[in-house]
Symmetry: C2
Subunit: 222 residues, 2 copies
DNA sequence: ATTGATGGTGTAATATATACACTAATACTT
DNA sequence: AAGTATTAGTGTATATATTACACCATCAAT
């Protein structure tokens, strides 16, 4: 491809999901600078020269939210002409699932705040075309949990089967049958008992499980 | 996102598949200009200012191969630093399935030739990172025919069930049972008998079917 | 009339998915 | 110590989906 210049910039945006209290949450930052003063947005920004797309996604996520070591998966490219009022920007979106505990969020003085918001209770319209990106990411997430074991990235190392089931129910927005759920995960072999039990509940203690593999795999879950 | 300039260009590349004689073929052009003189490549190029990504993909496909009105689906973005020797180029790849008959291929004087090649018999190493893109597209294609009705874009309006089965077998690289195949497609309701029969074979004439819908749909085929 | 080639059909066995209800073990309360 | 509230944990019967498998039908060509 020939040498040339273009009036187009390349950016990345990150859709980071987590599950908390039966809610699917997405990580947003609140903008400070016009034209989006006070508006919430997905963490994102322009790539640097010489920087790979996924490297840029990780760097920008860390800068804007404090999250590091997140496995980001490329989602889709968005290039609506009007998606960025400052000019033509093509954005390559990334998405990820993280476990909410063990996160310390912090942002820089370029942004007002960073926090998770329930996807059904967003703080108003998002900046840019970020609602389009979020919808696309949610659809991908719903599809993805059904044929891969990505759910591991949402859960701590050890978890109960009820917690795993609740995570699936939240992402899929539907209830699952407890016995059938357990039959399925055990026949798929994606989890194994750790021997330990969850302590402290006002009820029978639950066995703690762990994932047999924390690699990305295709498993046809639900 | 702030005003800024970047040392990165945006391109699109197209992976156009078809099936012929039991082979999965991909459309390639033969380059004329160095550093890829004589080397085959996927049709692709830089986007124009003000042009949408999918518009650029269609335009470039038409310019370089003569194909128009092809439904292109965005595949993935590739940004290996060394993918283009002339500098940093991010390429958004598109892919499609087309029916081979009724195609008139032509290219411009910027390229030597355009033609389909069997994916298992490529004419040497491809230009850029186009083998990576092709591998990715093949994986997507294999996955996609199994849970959508995209196969329609590979077939003419009317076709026999044997032709449909052969197309699936080629894309999936495995044989399917004739009776089970027919049971499945009829229970899915994705095809309907046209009433007409295929003529001219030295054998019993086959019923011609057509797809009930030529819209993209999720159907869980195989 | 025969031959060669592809079209077209059904059933039984197995595997998978679904619906459904009770007992077990703990913490807390009285 | 007994009772209560709460979540953990388990099995079976039914329905649905998948798989394996073999023969006759219909045409063109000879």
């Amino acid at each position: 491809m020939a040498k040339k210049t273009q009036q187009v910039l390349v950016a990345v945006d990150n859709c980071i999901f987590t599950v908390a209290e039966g809610r699917l949450d997405v990580l947003l930052i609140q903008m400070k600078q016009d034209p989006f003063h006070g508006v919430w947005a997905l963490p994102g920004g322009l790539i640097d020269d010489g920087e790979r797309l996924d490297g840029a996604a990780s760097r920008i996520l860390e800068e804007q939210t404090g999250l590091s070591d997140v496995y980001l998966e490329q989602l889709y490219s968005f290039d609506d002409e009007s998606r960025d009022p400052s000019g033509r920007v093509v954005s390559i979106a990334y998405f990820s699932l993280v476990q909410r505990d063990s996160l310390e969020l912090r942002t820089t003085d370029k942004y007002q705040q960073v926090r998770f918001w329930g996807v059904e209770g967003l703080p108003g319209k998002l900046a840019y075309d970020h609602e389009t990106i979020l919808d696309y990411a949610r659809a991908r997430l719903t599809a993805k949990v059904q044929y891969t074991n990505v759910m591991w990235s949402l859960l701590p190392e050890k978890f109960t089967l009820s917690e795993l089931q609740a995570a699936y129910e939240t992402v899929l927005s539907r209830r699952l049958d407890k016995r059938n759920f357990r039959k399925k995960v055990s026949s798929l072999g994606i989890v194994q008992a750790s021997g330990e039990r969850a302590t402290g509940g006002r009820h029978r203690p639950a066995m703690l499980y762990r994932f047999t593999s924390r690699e990305a795999e295709i498993v046809e879950v639900f």
